[in-house]
C-alpha cells in the first residue's frame, strides 16, 4: 500500500499501470511490432531480411491471387489444404474431446490419474512432439510399423509421411492427439457448470442418455462449445510445426500438404520474396477474421432472439 501510494499522478494511483508495463512492452516488441511490420512489408517489394523496402501497393496481392508461377501456382491449393486441415483436425479434437469430457465428468476410481494423463500432450513442446511422431512414423525404425507388423497388419515397411505423395491424415492424427486435451479441459468446465437438477428432471420425464445429452447437455454447453471450437480453429489454421517437421523432409517444399502458413514461410524465407510471404499471411489472417466476425454476428443474433 505504501509503495502503491508513491505512484500517484494527479492524486490517482498509476501503480497498476507500472506493474503492467513490462507485459505491454513485451507485447509491443514481440507481437504488435512484427504484426505491423508484416502488414507494411506486404505492400512493399522487400526480398529478404536487410533488403530495401519500397512501396508497391497491391502488387503482391495481385501476384498471389492471379499469377501462375512460383508461390502463386500453389495458393489456391494451399487454401483448400488449410481448410481441410483445420476442419478435420478441429472436428476430430471436438469429437474426442467431448467424449473424454463426458467420461471424466463421471465419478470413478482413478479419475484423477486419467485427468493428469490428459495433460501430457499439452505439456510436451510441439517441436519435441513432432520429432517424436516423425520417428514413430518412420518406415523402418518406427514404433507404429513395428507393432503393425508384429500383429500381422503389415507385411513390409510402409512410409506414412514425408513422401511427396503422402496423404495428410497421419498429420491430422497427430494434430488431434495434440489438440484434444485442451478441448477436453474446456468442455469439461462447461459440463461441470450444468445443474444436476436438469438431468434429474429429465430422467423423471423419461429421457434416456441420448435424449439428456441432446436436449440438456448440448444446449447448455452451446456457448462454451462455440468458444472452444473458434479458439481451436484460430490455432490450428495457423499451425506450422507438425506439418513442417512430421510431414516434410528437410527443406523440401511438400506442395501436396502445404497449407497457407507453410506456403507463406517458403515464399518469405526460402524463395527470398519476404513481401509476397507477408501478403500470403495477411490474406490468411483476413480469412480468419472473416470467420470470427461471421461467428460473432451469429452469436449476437441468437442472444437477441
Amino acid at each position: 500500500m505504501k509503495i502503491a501510494n508513491r505512484f500517484k499522478v494527479s492524486g490517482k494511483s498509476v501503480f497498476p499501470y507500472v506493474l503492467l508495463l513490462p507485459t505491454v512492452v513485451a507485447i509491443i516488441m514481440f507481437s504488435l511490432y512484427p504484426f505491423l511490420s508484416g502488414i507494411w512489408y506486404s505492400f512493399t517489394d522487400i526480398g529478404w531480411v536487410g533488403d530495401e523496402a519500397n512501396f508497391v501497393g497491391l502488387k503482391n496481392y495481385k501476384y498471389i491471387l492471379t499469377g501462375d508461377i512460383g508461390a502463386a501456382r500453389f495458393f489456391k491449393q494451399a487454401l483448400v489444404q488449410s481448410i481441410y486441415w483445420t476442419l478435420t483436425a478441429v472436428a476430430g479434437q471436438f469429437v474426442i474431446g467431448m467424449f473424454s469430457a463426458l467420461v471424466l465428468n463421471e465419478r470413478f476410481p482413478g479419475r484423477f490419474l486419467f485427468r493428469m494423463a490428459l495433460l501430457v500432450p499439452i505439456a510436451i513442446p510441439t517441436v519435441i512432439l513432432a520429432l517424436t511422431w516423425q520417428w514413430m512414423y518412420d518406415p523402418f525404425y518406427g514404433l507404429i510399423n513395428y507393432y503393425l507388423r508384429l500383429f500381422g497388419f503389415l507385411e513390409g515397411p510402409k512410409a506414412w509421411v514425408g513422401q511427396p505423395n503422402s496423404p495428410m491424415w497421419p498429420l491430422i492424427a497427430v494434430a488431434i492427439w495434440r489438440g484434444f486435451p485442451f478441448m477436453t479441459v474446456m468442455l469439461l468446465s462447461g459440463l461441470q457448470g450444468i445443474s444436476h437438477e436438469l438431468y434429474e428432471a429429465a430422467e423423471v420425464d423419461g429421457a434416456n442418455v441420448i435424449g439428456r445429452f441432446r436436449y440438456i447437455t448440448l444446449p447448455q454447453m452451446r456457448t462454451i462449445m462455440t468458444i472452444a471450437v473458434m479458439l481451436h480453429i484460430l490455432w490450428w489454421w495457423n499451425h506450422f510445426d507438425i506439418i513442417r517437421i512430421v510431414g516434410q523432409s528437410g527443406l523440401e517444399f511438400a506442395y501436396r500438404i502445404a497449407t497457407l502458413p507453410i506456403l507463406g514461410w517458403f515464399e518469405a524465407f526460402q524463395w527470398s520474396h519476404l513481401a509476397r510471404g507477408a501478403a500470403i499471411s495477411m490474406m490468411s489472417m483476413l480469412m480468419l477474421i472473416g470467420i470470427m466476425i461471421w461467428n460473432a454476428r451469429r452469436e449476437i443474433r441468437s442472444v437477441r432472439l
Binding site: G47, W48, V49, G50, D51, I69, G70, A71, R73, F74, D138, P139, F140, Y141, G156, P157, K158, A159, G162, Q163, P164, N165, S166, S249, G250, L251, E252, F253, A254, Y255, F266, F269, Q270, W271, S272, H273
Partner: protein, 484 residues
C-alpha cells in the same frame, strides 16, 4: 523489524550480485617479464673490464587470445568427431593467439541462423558452414556475409584449383564467398551388398568396366526376388510378395532434381540451367534427357518399390544393411555412416552408370565456410579458413565427412591415402573434366515450385518425361528471368 529485514535483504542481494559479477570478470592477462644477461664493458680505475650484468627490459604488452566460433552443420558422428578433432588441432597449434569454439548447428537452419544474426546486428558465430551454390552466394547477395578476398594470400589461393575458386565466386563483383572444404561432385556411388551380387552371378561395375543405365536395370531385375526366390522377369515371379529389391534410389522432391540434374550434366558437360544469349532457361539436350529419364523411371521397371518415393537416406542404409535392397544410390558420405551404424555389414561400392569411353563431366562447387557480416575478428577467422584448407588438415575434415576434399592434395594425406574405397573417386577425378555454373537467385523457387513437382509426376508415371521437359523449359524462361 520489517524495515530491518528489508535492508538486510537488499544488502544480501547486493553482496551476492557483486560476487557473481566478480566471478564472471575476465582476469587481466599475465605480464611476462624476461630477464636477460648482457655483457657490459666498463672502465674501472683507468682499465677496461667486461662483466656480465642482468638487465630487465620493459615488459612486453601481451596479445590477448582471440576466440572465434565455428557453427558446424555436421550431422553424423564421424563428421562431428572430425570437426572437433580439427578444432582441437588448430587450438593446440594456435594456443595463446586464436582459439576456435565449436558450435553444433543444423544444415536446415543455416539460413534462419545467419539472417537472425543480421537482424540482431551480431551475436552469431564468425564462421558458418554451408553449401556454396544457392547458399553462400545467396547470403552474399543479401549482404549477410563477407567477401574473403581482402584476407586471401597467394598461398591460400594456391590450395585449390581456379575452377573450384570460380564456383565460390559471386558473379557480379567477383567476391569469394566461402573457402573450400568439400566438393559435391564427383561423389555419387552405387553401394551394394556383395552377397546379393554374388548370389545373382553379377559382376560389379568398375571404372574400367562401367555399367550403363540399361545394365543397372537388368542386373537389378536379377536381384529383385519374391518370397520363393524367383527374380523379376522369371516365370512364377510373385509381384505381390517381393522380399528383396534390386535397386533403391532416393526419389524424393529434392533428389529427383539434384541427382537427375547431376547425371544429365555429367553426360552433357555443361549445366542444364544456364544462360544462353543472356536468357536463363532449362536447356536439356537429347543425351542429358535420355539419362535423366532413365533415372526417373526406375520405378516403372519394377526394380524399386513405390515406397522408394520419399525414403530418407537413413532408411536406404537400413534397407541395404538388412538385405531388403541389393543396391542403393548414395553419396560417399554414406560409407562412414553405414560403417558407424552397421559395423558388421560388409559394403561394396561401384561407380554410377555411364557409357564406356564417355568423359565424366562434373560440376565445380560444393561446401565451404563463410564469414558472417558482423564477425568481430575477421583476420583471425580468415587464418582458420586458410589453415583448414591445408592438405593434412582438410584430410581430417573431409574424410570424417565422407566427402571429396576441395584441395585434391588432401587425397594423398592420411586417412585418405590408405583407404581403397576412395580409389573410385580418384579415378573419377583423373578421367573427369570439371565445369562451372552461374548463379541465379530464383533457382530454389524454380526447383520447388516447378521442377520438383513435375519431375515427381514423371516418377509416379502420371506424366511422360517429354511433357515435363517441355513445361520445364517454358516455366524456366518465366521464373528464372524475373526482376530481382
Amino acid at each position: 523489524m520489517k524495515r530491518f529485514r528489508l535492508v538486510l535483504g537488499i544488502v544480501s542481494m547486493s553482496v551476492i550480485l557483486t560476487l557473481l559479477l566478480a566471478a564472471c570478470a575476465t582476469p587481466e592477462p599475465e605480464v611476462v617479464t624476461k630477464v636477460e644477461e648482457v655483457e657490459v664493458t666498463r672502465i674501472v680505475e683507468g682499465e677496461s673490464e667486461t662483466i656480465v650484468v642482468t638487465a630487465t627490459p620493459e615488459p612486453e604488452e601481451p596479445k590477448e587470445e582471440v576466440t572465434i566460433q565455428l557453427w558446424s552443420t555436421a550431422w553424423f558422428p564421424s563428421s562431428i568427431d572430425a570437426r572437433m578433432a580439427l578444432v582441437d588441432k588448430f587450438n593446440e597449434e594456435y594456443k595463446g593467439r586464436i582459439q576456435v569454439e565449436y558450435i553444433q548447428g543444423s544444415w536446415g537452419e543455416v539460413g534462419t541462423y545467419v539472417q537472425s544474426g543480421v537482424a540482431a546486428g551480431g551475436g552469431i558465430a564468425c564462421l558458418v558452414e554451408y553449401e556454396v551454390e544457392g547458399g553462400a552466394q545467396e547470403f552474399y547477395m543479401k549482404h549477410w556475409i563477407q567477401d574473403l578476398r581482402p584476407y586471401m594470400t597467394d598461398e591460400w589461393r594456391a590450395l585449390m584449383t581456379e575452377k573450384q575458386w570460380e564456383a565460390r565466386r559471386f558473379p557480379d563483383d567477383g567476391a569469394i564467398v566461402a573457402n573450400g572444404t568439400v566438393l559435391w561432385e564427383p561423389m555419387q556411388l552405387v553401394l551394394y551388398n556383395p552377397e546379393h551380387l554374388e548370389a545373382a552371378g553379377v559382376e560389379p561395375a568398375t571404372p574400367d568396366n562401367p555399367w550403363t543405365w540399361e545394365d543397372l536395370v537388368e542386373n537389378a531385375k536379377l536381384m529383385t526376388l519374391d518370397a520363393n526366390g524367383n527374380h523379376l522377369g522369371e516365370p512364377g515371379f510373385d509381384n505381390n510378395n517381393i522380399v528383396q529389391w534390386g535397386f533403391l534410389p532416393r526419389l524424393d522432391l529434392e533428389k529427383v532434381w539434384e541427382y537427375g540434374i547431376r547425371f544429365a550434366q555429367q553426360r552433357m558437360g555443361k549445366p542444364v540451367v544456364r544462360q544462353e544469349d543472356g536468357v536463363w532457361g532449362w536447356y536439356l539436350d537429347e543425351e542429358g534427357a535420355e539419362v535423366y529419364e532413365s533415372f526417373l523411371t526406375v520405378l516403372q521397371e519394377g526394380v524399386a518399390p513405390s515406397m522408394a518415393i520419399g525414403l530418407s537416406g537413413d532408411s536406404l542404409h537400413e534397407a541395404l544393411a538388412d538385405g531388403t535392397a541389393s543396391m542403393i544410390l548414395r553419396e560417399t558420405f554414406a560409407i562412414p555412416i553405414i560403417h558407424d551404424n552397421y559395423p558388421d555389414f560388409e559394403l561394396g561400392a561401384m561407380p554410377t552408370p555411364f557409357n564406356p569411353g564417355d568423359t565424366m563431366f562434373y560440376k565445380a562447387g560444393g561446401e565451404g565456410v563463410v564469414m558472417t557480416r558482423n564477425c568481430e575478428h575477421p583476420e583471425e577467422a580468415a587464418e582458420f579458413l586458410f589453415w583448414m584448407m591445408k592438405p593434412e588438415n582438410l584430410a581430417i575434415y573431409a574424410y570424417g565427412n565422407g566427402m571429396l576434399p576441395a584441395n585434391y592434395d588432401a587425397l594423398d594425406a592420411e586417412p585418405f591415402a590408405s583407404d581403397p574405397t576412395w580409389d573410385i573417386i580418384k579415378d573419377y577425378l583423373e578421367r573427369g573434366e570439371v565445369f562451372t555454373t552461374s548463379y541465379n537467385p530464383f533457382l530454389d523457387e524454380f526447383k520447388d515450385t516447378v521442377a520438383a513437382p513435375l519431375l515427381m509426376e514423371v516418377v509416379e508415371g502420371k506424366r511422360t518425361f517429354a511433357e515435363a521437359n517441355e513445361i520445364l523449359a517454358e516455366q524456366a524462361n518465366l521464373l528464372l528471368n524475373q526482376e530481382p
